[in-house]
């Protein structure tokens, strides 16, 4: 099941093509949208919101056409913009209730729900304060609250941890994780911060210059080719490395007593082989595990292609 899909979508600002012939499917759950500056992430979000008409191709969000059903889409999604935004002169609860009313909620329901959502976002105590007096962290939370008030099926979060201190960042990520897992809300997180995406998302889409460079579950993308294993020895041992190579393995990297080894294939006897190598070389094996790439490795590899 997908929450959004694009088919050969091209978006232009005047003569500048920002998204080139993009075809992708955004699955349910929490999806990270990654890419360097100017990759087209924000343009993609705005296209999905129906703000920009594609030059060619088709796109749909929750089964609704982005070119013709922008209003219906915006009623079913929530957007947490990247920049600080609020309605001047309003306190938090009025602001969030107003956001709900704009989505079509009756005034009384919007007010009730505003209290509920503010409490959930950790602003219960400050709900009657004017938003202009809020700290950066509180403003991030209120942006999330106004996006959640009408119970959207899909949330777009643009740089949700912008300007937050480590504690605030942890809390925001915990909120995102909570909303996107088991609450029936699908989330698309656009961020430069790979650790944030790694902590909250199950899948990622990597864009560069308006072209998709990688997509898939994070766990799959992090898998290494062949059979790679991270090994920790008691102390650095060149004899251990020689023994590995004699058995057809390859030392990919070595830093102190830690190294990454590659074997052509694993037939389920990798552990036994490592113990044999250790015995042969006289090295003391402290531990080993199947190697995984970091999301940063995946990202750098994708955008360098």
């Amino acid at each position: 099941m997908t929450v959004a899909s694009l088919a050969n979508l091209t978006v232009r600002y005047g003569p500048k093509t920002v998204i080139h012939d993009l075809t992708l499917e955004v699955p349910e759950g929490c999806v990270g949208l990654l890419g360097p500056n100017g990759a087209g992430k924000t343009t993609l979000l705005k296209t999905l919101l129906g703000f920009i008409s594609p030059a060619s191709g088709r796109g749909s969000v929750l089964g609704l056409d982005v070119a013709t059903q922008g209003i219906a889409i915006r009623q079913r999604i929530g957007l947490m913009p990247e920049v600080d935004c609020y309605i001047p002169g309003m306190n938090a609860v009025s602001f969030v209730a107003y956001a709900g009313e704009m989505c079509g909620m009756p005034a009384s329901q919007a007010m009730r729900r505003a209290h509920e959502v503010l409490e959930y976002c950790g602003l219960g105590e400050a709900r009657y304060r004017e938003v202009e007096t809020y700290s950066a962290g509180m403003r991030q939370r209120i942006k999330l609250a106004q996006a959640l008030v009408h119970g959207p099926s899909l949330l777009f979060l643009d740089e949700p941890t912008n300007g937050l201190d480590p504690e605030g960042r942890d809390e925001m990520l915990a909120l995102i994780r909570d909303i996107s897992h088991g609450k029936g809300v699908n989330v698309v997180v656009s961020s430069h911060l790979l650790p944030d995406v790694e902590r909250t998302c199950d899948e990622v889409i990597v864009l560069k210059d308006g072209v998709m460079k990688a997509q898939g579950p994070i766990s799959t993308l992090r898998e290494t080719d062949g059979c790679q294993v991270d090994v920790e020895l008691k102390e650095p041992s060149p004899i251990f490395f020689e023994a590995v190579e004699r058995r057809g393995g390859k030392v990919l990297s070595a830093e102190g007593a830690r190294c990454r080894l590659a074997f052509a294939s694993s037939d389920g006897t990798l552990g036994a082989a490592l113990f044999a190598v250790a015995k042969e070389s006289g090295a003391q094996l402290r531990g080993f595990r199947l190697a995984q790439r970091t999301l940063e490795d995946v990202f750098m590899e994708a955008i360098s292609e």
Binding site: Q75, P81, Y86, I87, M102, M105, G124, V149, D178
Partner: protein, 315 residues
């Protein structure tokens, strides 16, 4: 004491986790009215709102007192100094005396209409909701219009009811059957003009203060410019053009149109009486109405052009 959690801990009321909203979500509703209502509420919360409403209503109170005295003494006084009908002149006098207060009220409540949203990036909130640019502009316009127009419409209506009560026995209703409609039409005129032009300035400016400064400069600059132009044209013998130019200020346009709608005779000293321009002939109404319409449309067009959901990057 029992170690088991209290009943309230299991109650939905104590559940502070995220719950999906399953209430009604209207698909057909007047979207702009939501914005207009919020704008109205915010305007009424402003510190200077009620004093300015009182100031704008004060001329109507004064005219009411003058009419009462006139009724008791049988003398119309300055209201009919230049001839014309007492009631029409009375409404025109109250209207023209309140014009400046209405301008100040518009300035106070309307400067932030769009500029405040621009400064606070609120447009991203508005336009990420199921609201179009047109809904947003109509909502902003309607909110400001109601705020400004009500400051003259409500006192004008109250004055009309007072006059009706006072002069009913004298056949007032029979002699002036359309006066209420004329008074309403005139009362909403400043609201239409100020709201539209101010919305344009507010859309251009990055902050409410700049919007207020720009609009005030525009309002105050037009007066002397129109008078100087009228003086030059009058000296050159172009009396018709001079008469027209003398009305080409915001208050001049509003007064001239109102005077025609009410069919009133202005009191002495209006339209450059001090500058020797009072002898000028009555200017044609059409160019003044067209200027009014042009200002209104220009303000709205600027606002429409400036409000964008997406900042277009020129590459």
């Amino acid at each position: 004491m029992s170690d088991t959690p209290s009943q309230s801990a299991h109650s939905p009321i104590a559940d502070l986790s995220y719950r999906t909203y399953d209430g009604p979500l209207r698909t057909h509703y007047v979207r702009w009215w939501v914005i207009a209502r919020a704008s109205l509420r915010l305007a009424m919360k402003k510190r200077g709102y009620w004093p300015l409403v009182a100031l704008a209503s004060f001329p109507y109170l004064m005219v009411g007192i003058m009419l009462y005295i006139s009724k008791r003494t049988g003398m119309a006084g300055m209201l009919t100094a230049m001839g014309g009908d007492l009631y029409q002149n009375a409404f025109f006098a109250a209207y023209s005396w309140s014009l400046f207060s209405v301008f100040l009220l518009a300035l106070l409540t309307g400067n932030a209409a769009i500029a405040g949203d621009t400064r606070a990036n609120a447009l991203q909130v508005y336009l990420s909701k199921p609201i179009t640019k047109l809904d947003y502009l109509v909502g902003k316009w309607a909110g400001l219009f109601i705020t400004v127009a009500s400051a003259s419409l409500i006192p004008a209506t109250v004055l009309y009811l007072f006059v009706l009560g006072l002069y009913y026995q004298d056949g007032f209703l029979g002699e002036h059957p359309a006066l209420i409609l004329q008074a309403i039409a005139v009362s909403v005129l400043p609201g239409v003009l100020h709201t539209s032009v101010l919305l344009g300035f507010s859309a251009v400016a990055k902050t409410p203060r700049v919007a207020a400064a720009l609009y005030a400069a525009f309002y105050f600059a037009l007066g002397p410019i129109s008078q100087i132009t009228a003086g030059i044209l009058g000296q050159a013998g172009h009396t018709q053009q001079a008469a027209l130019a003398s009305r080409m200020s915001m208050s001049g346009i509003l007064s001239e149109v109102a005077m025609h709608v009410l069919d009133a005779k202005p009191m002495p000293g209006r339209f450059g009486g001090q500058h020797g321009l009072s002898q000028l002939p009555e200017p044609p109404l059409l160019p003044i109405v067209l200027t009014l319409a042009g200002l209104v449309l220009a303000g709205l067009a600027i606002a429409r052009a400036r409000v964008r959901a997406v900042e277009v990057v020129r590459g």
